[in-house]
């Protein structure tokens, strides 16, 4: 079932008189850059999920908060849908435009307002890149912990909207754990502060509610993040296994030994071979799986932990364990993992990246299920896994030029996500629902739960003008999605509660 906005199932959008809107914007906001011609709009037709494209009605590129405020007031009065966007690196189509909506690009708010080493925080505008925060904090020996793989390009405003993660979440948390305060504009252009400069704020925890809300409850205009002291040292162990199950069990054994690694990543054989061909990281190409385990902190502790983890890995049946001998080798080990996606891109014309999470103990079962689904659909799947926090990124290999392969890849991906839900996991760990997983939301949540999500939305945006159609599906869409599955006689996991 198509994921593009479909008024029939996703709800009618207000009709917008583009000419009248444009003339009011020109008059009220003479210095706001507005793109409205087809060739200027084209570059904004998609975010990081480039398989789906919609040319927006208008693109606006404000540089001052008061411009955003006026814009929102006008859009609210005229009932114009607004889709906020940061750097546009999101992988789930959270910033996919609407034909009848304005794309509000916040990328020009790229100023770091304050880095306060004694207060251990940085106050930045929403368009500041994730990595730029750590770079600005580095002279003080501090950094901003969440590090999504797009950190060189993605913006902090988008990180807040998606509750972005990265490879260090088990130890350092997600975006929501590393925020102090967020300034937002409500749908009608009112300023509101969520959180505070202190560690908590009076009232409901709206900061937690807004983090990961995909731009549907308000527009982020300023972010205060926590900064942490940089770990003194980081060391990486590379362990090879002759079975994925053993590697999976080793992860549990490390944690059972009371050790929380800074990063703990797993790759299967297809990912290992693709990566080794590309990066020459020194990975064992004959291993069924490898684990990369990074230990960071104070030198003496890290030394101890390395010895403990080495012993645990060997007991768990690792065929080989190597400690990166120096910083160069450590960087090489990580370069392999961080380039796993492009490496897979070299062995297949296209790939589709999934983002399910599972309880770690279910890993062997889920990998087995993925292998079966992969055979059933006739498409290869490479598995890259944030093993420490249970976040899987199966990469489905396909060729969009072969008729029907994209559809098969989507169907396979959907089944993988539903498998994650069936074992007690989630359809998305860090990429967000956006439009991409709008149908799978129907598998994870009951209609009553979706009704409650819509009630939350209504509290902040009763007319549904902020990023309509993202994150939470309508019951109508789920009803059609459910009936489609049954119609084809392959309703997965019949034991799941359905409606």
């Amino acid at each position: 079932m198509n994921i593009l906005y479909d008024e029939r199932v996703d709800g009618a959008l207000p009709r917008v008189d583009k000419a009248a809107l444009l003339s009011e914007l020109f008059e009220s906001l003479p210095d706001l850059e507005i793109l409205h011609s087809q060739e200027d709009l084209m570059p904004y037709e998609c975010d990081g999920l480039s398989a789906y494209r919609v040319v927006p009605m208008l693109v606006v590129l404000p540089e001052r908060i008061d411009q955003v405020q006026t814009l929102l007031k006008i859009c609210h009065a005229r009932q114009v849908p607004v889709v906020p966007r940061g750097a546009g690196t999101g992988l789930s189509g959270g910033a996919l435009p609407l034909e009848q909506g304005i794309l509000l690009v916040m990328a020009r708010f790229n100023r770091i307002i304050e880095v306060n080493p004694k207060g251990r925080f940085a106050r930045v505008q929403p368009g500041v890149r994730n990595l730029a925060i750590s770079q600005a904090a580095a002279p003080h020996g501090l950094y901003y912990a969440p590090d999504p793989s797009s950190q060189i390009a993605c913006s902090i405003g988008g990180n807040v909207a998606e509750n972005a993660g990265g490879v260090h979440c088990l130890k350092y948390g997600l975006t929501v754990h590393n925020l102090l305060k967020v300034e937002i504009l409500t749908v009608d252009g009112q300023r509101m502060t969520l959180g505070s400069d202190a560690l908590d704020a009076p009232g409901f925890d709206l900061l937690a509610l807004f983090t990961g809300s995909e731009g549907m409850l308000g527009v982020v205009t300023e972010v205060t993040v926590k900064l942490l002291p940089k770990p003194q040292v980081a060391r990486v162990l590379l362990a090879s296994f002759d079975s994925v199950e053993k590697a999976g069990r080793a992860v549990g054994d490390i944690i059972a030994a009371g050790i929380i690694p800074g990063g703990l990543e797993m790759m299967d054989n297809l990912s290992i071979r693709a990566t080794e061909d590309f990066i020459h990281a020194g990975y064992p190409v004959d291993a069924a799986a490898i684990l990369l385990c990074e230990l960071d902190g104070v030198e003496a502790d890290v030394q101890d932990d390395c010895e403990r983890v080495d012993a645990v890995l060997k007991t768990a049946g690792a065929t080989h364990v190597r400690l990166a001998c120096d910083e160069a080798e450590r960087a090489r080990f990580w370069a392999g993992r961080k380039n796993a996606f492009p490496a897979v891109g070299r062995i297949s014309p296209d790939y589709y990246c999934m983002d399910g999470t599972i309880p770690r103990r279910e890993l062997p079962k889920v990998l087995h299920g993925i292998t079966e689904l992969s055979e059933k659909y006739g498409l290869r799947v490479a598995n890259v896994f944030h093993a420490g926090d249970g976040n899987m990124h199966p990469l489905i290999l396909f060729d969009a030029n072969q008729s029907g392969e994209l559809e098969r890849a989507e169907a396979l991906g959907a089944q993988i996500l539903e498998l994650c839900v069936a074992v007690g996991g989630s359809i998305t760990g860090e990429h967000g629902v956006g439009r991409e997983k709008i149908n799978q939301m129907c598998a994870q949540f009951s209609s009553d739960e979706l009704i409650l999500f819509h009630a939350v939305k209504k509290a902040f945006d009763p007319k549904g003008l902020l990023n309509p159609g993202k994150n939470i599906p309508t019951l109508h869409r789920c009803a059609e999605f459910g009936s489609m599955h049954i119609h084809h006689g392959k309703l997965p996991f019949p034991e799941l509660e359905r409606f």
């Binding site: 997600l174 104070v298 932990d305 999470t357 739960e449």
Partner: protein
């Protein structure tokens, strides 16, 4: 002997009865946190019959338990497996329950270094104001599907729904723990803490009582040993932190009003009438004072913090800015349309 029991059906029935009869509910566990917030009128909904640990797998670092489970039982279970609730929740009474812990949202001395209750909430089951028992979040560390309703519940004092089950992330206990006492005045303590905070020193608690700075160091043997060598001071009994967390220290015995001041890290000493005790490395300060709420809140707001009266009162929580209050009311109206759950516990209008 545990008395595990699933009473969710009975709790749901009571909520639906209240919805039908249009009566309000006062949600409580052991009532250990009854002194926090505003008084609530309503029929008691007692969660304690709904108790028991539903699942706990130490290698997953996740524990799921029913809301009425005694906190002591959860902590004993974790302790036996070498793990803990990292945020050290204050019990404030012998029968404190998991549900009350999440609803009150209070965290103990380790909070600035590891996070708060809400940071460790992964999932919840909630009875809503529409009379449904629903599940949000789950038992996985990363989950961004839908809105984060589970974390919203933390610190909401039962005003948005009845918590029936909570999944929490837990952590291994540190290998080494050492507490120490350093004679120094509050100015010096705050300046040392600001300095240490920028370095990888394994501090996990820091309290100044007016005479001395009390520190706890936690980590591996090596990091703790080198921090002790660097910082010095006299050894301190680790029971100090439980006394602080449970407000059993001498400071808390005076009869004046108890205020909790929440402040940015780098806030200097705040001049207010009465006695102060600095916790959380200065980010949480306890104040025993008879000064008026206006005087206290003015002093604290001017440095970016907020003040809570830590006993029952008419406006115990810092009043909200107008737009925030408006959205609190909207949210309450949407999630609890009949206003049956703990009406007015936090704010008269909510």
């Amino acid at each position: 002997m545990r008395h595990d029991h699933d009473a969710s059906t009975a709790l749901l029935e009571q909520v639906n009865y209240a919805l039908n009869e249009r009566i309000t509910l006062r949600i409580q566990g052991s009532n250990s946190k009854a002194s926090l917030g505003r008084p609530v009128a309503g029929e008691v909904l007692d969660t304690r019959s709904h108790r028991g640990i539903v699942s706990y797998d130490p290698t997953e670092l996740v524990l799921t338990a029913r809301a009425g489970t005694p906190l002591a039982e959860i902590e004993a279970t974790l302790d036996a497996a070498g793990q803990m609730l990292p945020f050290e929740p204050p019990h404030l009474g012998p029968g404190a329950t998991l549900g009350g812990m999440v609803a009150a949202g209070l965290s103990g001395p380790r909070r600035p270094w590891v996070g708060s209750v809400r940071d460790f909430v992964l999932g919840t089951r909630i009875i809503t104001g529409h009379g449904k028992l629903l599940r949000f979040g789950g038992e996985v560390m990363k989950n961004v599907a839908g809105y984060d309703v589970s974390r919203l519940m933390a610190g909401s004092f039962g005003c948005l729904g009845v918590l029936t089950e909570v999944s929490l992330k837990v952590l291994p206990k540190p290998r080494k723990c050492f507490s120490l006492r350093l004679e120094m005045d509050v100015h010096q303590a705050l300046s040392e803490l600001a300095e240490w905070g920028q370095q990888p020193i394994p501090i996990s608690a820091a309290c100044h009582d007016g005479q001395a700075l009390h520190l706890r160091l936690e980590g591996g043997e090596g990091s703790v040993a080198s921090a002790i060598e660097r910082i010095g001071g006299d050894s301190l009994d680790s029971g100090y932190w439980a006394d602080l967390r449970e407000q059993r220290s001498a400071f808390f015995t005076s009869s004046e009003h108890l205020w909790r001041l929440s402040l940015p890290y780098n806030t200097g000493p705040i001049e207010l009438p009465g006695q102060q005790l600095l916790d959380w490395g200065g980010a949480q300060r306890w104040l025993k004072s008879s000064a008026t709420p206006q005087v206290i809140r003015q002093a604290v707001s001017s440095v970016g913090g907020h003040a809570t009266l830590h006993e029952q009162g008419d406006t115990p929580f810092q009043p909200l800015a107008a737009p925030l209050l408006r959205y609190h009311r909207n949210l309450k109206k949407q999630l609890d349309p009949q206003g049956i759950f703990n009406p007015g516990r936090m704010y008269a209008e909510v």
